[in-house]
């Protein structure tokens, strides 16, 4: 087992289950989108599930997670109730954000899942703020900030990494390098696309590049990074190489990339490969995995049903939660 911590079979199977939960959640979301029950932008995380699960499973419950608009995976991995997540996608009053945020703006304060932010790079300054709050209070929590390769283009990446390093803030920047922004490639966007992780060193932030398709490698690297960050040594950056199996959003047929490239990456599907390794290693039987799929599908089918059955917000809800204390 490559992971730095000792993982028993139950835990490994749990990772599988968590990744599958995200995958099935999104498969169903895509269906519901086609049926017109989910609207607007829907960005799927298909193919990148190993990152959310490997990284977030390494956190304490009180650690903060913040991410971009491709947020279903992170939200579920941090413990968001699939019912609340699906209902949010449906725009229902029972959604985690009462239907007001939608797919791109999921939040769960109790789980310290701090969003779901749809402005590319916008979550970066916020993440330094979470880390600063924790540092000032001395309560030992860290902030885990996910970002795409595209967010590195934004000035806020620079401002946030500099501040985090300067003030030794407990924040772990986690770059999900899936090779594309929307249609633009990392080559078209970043002068240093071939060594993004090294770029962090310019800020005196240590970093590592890892395979983002392997949940155990993600977990191992994250645990090492967390030890650094929680130890008071300032930020750390991980670049995980990954691929989104689908277009940028449901509206995107991804005509800008070769089908052969997609196929190559799909061969490395983080869920099927991990499942196969569990079976090969004798940790689980195929029947057990099939059973997990059945369970997970039941959970998500129930979430869809819950969302479908839930009411839309009352018209008056329009004016709620604009300001507090009123």
């Amino acid at each position: 087992m490559a992971s730095g911590d000792k993982l028993d079979g139950a835990q490994l199977i749990d990772f599988y289950r968590r990744m599958l939960l995200i995958r099935v959640f999104e498969e169903r979301s895509a269906e519901q989108y086609m049926l017109g029950r989910i609207r607007g932008f829907l960005h799927l995380y298909n193919g990148e599930e190993a990152i959310a699960v490997g990284a977030i499973s390494s956190l304490q419950p009180t650690d903060y997670v913040v991410t971009h608009y491709r947020d279903h995976g992170h939200a579920l991995a941090k413990g968001m109730d699939p019912n609340a997540a699906m209902a949010e996608l449906f725009g229902k009053a029972t959604g985690c954000s009462k239907g007001k945020g939608g797919s791109m703006h999921l939040f769960d304060l109790e789980k310290r899942f701090m969003g779901g932010h749809a402005i590319v790079g916008g979550q970066l300054p916020l993440s330094t703020g979470f880390a600063l709050a924790s540092k000032l209070r001395g309560d030992g929590d860290i902030a885990l900030c996910f970002l795409g390769d595209g967010a590195i283009n934004e000035g806020e990446f620079h401002e946030s990494l500099n501040l985090a390093s300067l003030w030794k803030l407990p924040v772990l920047f986690f770059v999900e390098n899936n090779l594309y922004g929307m249609g633009a490639t990392v080559e078209q966007m970043l002068a240093f696309h071939d060594e993004i992780y090294k770029f962090a060193n310019g800020y005196k932030i240590p970093s590592v590049r890892i395979d983002g398709m392997d949940v155990l490698k993600v977990r191992e690297a994250t645990q090492e990074a967390i030890a650094h960050v929680r130890g008071g040594n300032g930020p750390f950056l991980i670049e995980a190489m990954a691929y989104r199996f689908r277009g940028h959003s449901m509206a995107d047929p991804a005509e800008y990339r070769a089908r052969s490239e997609e196929e190559r990456w799909r061969m490395r599907d983080p869920i099927t490969t991990f499942g196969a390794s569990l079976v090969d290693g004798g940790t689980a039987t195929q029947e057990e995995l099939d059973e997990i799929r059945t369970e997970v599908e039941e959970i998500i089918d129930a979430a869809v049903q819950f969302a479908e059955d839930s009411p839309f917000p009352e018209p008056e809800a329009l004016y709620d939660d604009v300001y507090g204390g009123m």
Binding site: R39, G40, F41, G91, K92, G95, S97, G99, K100, G101, G102, S103, M104, H105, H117, A118, I119, V120, G121, G122, G150, A151, N153, E154, G155, G181, M182, G183, A184, Q188, M189, L190, D252, E255, Y256, F312, P313, P315, A317, L318, Y319, V322
Partner: protein, 324 residues
């Protein structure tokens, strides 16, 4: 005369503009992706990557690069994928592009066109549904065009290319698939000329962008209720053709101003102010204002619909103004 979509009108305008060698385009995903709203589809193949420049996701950086290139004699067209992202490029537009002529005593100019997309109604949530064009229209040195039809897109874009100053060319997300007639011979719609899209005698409805379309639909329904509404489409917010609006109100004696952004601070208030100032003695009732609800735009569909002005609200405001 051909019938084309608003999207096609933008595309045609861009192709025309690109005949000038000094013109080039910059923006996110305008190349192989074809633009987030499929407006720039095909341009990369036609004009090549030197002139259709795919940028990093760095709004301030590439908008400022456009401003600099314009100051150096080029005619860049920058696309900000939506006007919401202009919040990241505000400094370059407002403190640099808009002020350089004045601050240099007229030496430099910045003929930069920033194309962008405004408005709500697409279920994309509060961060992606704002209508911020009024802020730019407030800044001396900038021009702002807000077309509501394919015809106006084409004529106003041609005029934008003739400006010697930065222009925010603001398209509307829900208008791209609307259709309309455009003349074949090349016409230009000069900036600062509002358009009486429908004439009427009982009340003036002033609006722009998609709200001009909503106002037209409201006016049709009002007609069946026996109310003759004149619809004035502002077409450009800067320069603002207050003359046409005021003239119309002097004729009708009543007015409603419609816009999509929030009531407080909305650009429509400036129009109301001008009307009451210059047509005070002609007004039989207060000028009505219809604007977006004062909330961040909600994702959920019915809430969102309730947050954006529609025909019903325009009709209600018109009837209130007419005391019916």
């Amino acid at each position: 005369m051909a019938v084309i979509t608003y999207r096609e009108a933008v595309g045609r305008a861009l192709r025309e503009a690109l005949q000038d060698e000094r013109v080039f385009m910059m923006g996110e995903d305008i190349g192989r992706y074809g633009g987030a709203y499929a407006v720039t589809r095909g341009l990369l193949d036609e004009f090549g990557p030197e002139r259709i420049r795919e940028t990093p996701i760095a709004e301030s950086g590439f908008t400022g690069a456009g401003a600099g290139a314009a100051m150096a004699g080029m005619r860049p067209i920058v696309e900000l994928m939506t006007i919401n992202f202009s919040l990241l490029a505000m400094d370059q537009i407002i403190n640099h592009a808009a002020k350089v002529r004045y601050m240099s005593g007229g030496q430099l100019s910045c003929p930069l066109i920033v194309r962008t997309v405004t408005g709500g109604g697409a279920s994309v949530g509060a961060t992606h549904s704002q209508s911020l064009e009024g802020w730019f229209a407030a800044v001396p040195g900038i021009r702002v065009a807000v077309p509501s039809t394919p015809h106006d897109v084409l004529g106003l874009f041609r005029a934008a290319m003739l400006q010697e100053d930065p222009v925010m060319f603001v398209e509307h997300t829900l208008l791209y698939s609307t259709r309309g007639e455009v003349e074949d011979e090349p016409y230009v719609i000069p900036f600062g000329r509002a358009d009486i899209k429908r004439s009427g005698t009982d009340i003036t409805i002033a609006a722009y962008s998609r709200m001009a379309v909503v106002a037209m639909r409201a006016a049709e329904q009002l007609e069946s209720r026996g109310i003759s509404a004149e619809v004035v489409d502002l077409r450009t917010l800067s320069p603002l053709d207050s003359e046409t609006v005021v003239e119309s109100v002097r004729k009708t004696g009543h007015a409603v101003v419609v816009e999509e952004t929030w009531y407080t601070g909305g650009f429509g208030a400036t129009v109301v102010g001008l009307i009451q100032e210059r047509a005070f003695d002609y007004l039989n009732a207060p000028v009505g204002r219809v604007a977006g609800e004062e909330v961040p735009t909600p994702y959920s569909r019915y809430l969102e619909q309730a947050s954006i002005p529609d025909e019903a609200r325009v009709i209600q405001a018109v009837e209130a103004a007419l005391g019916r």
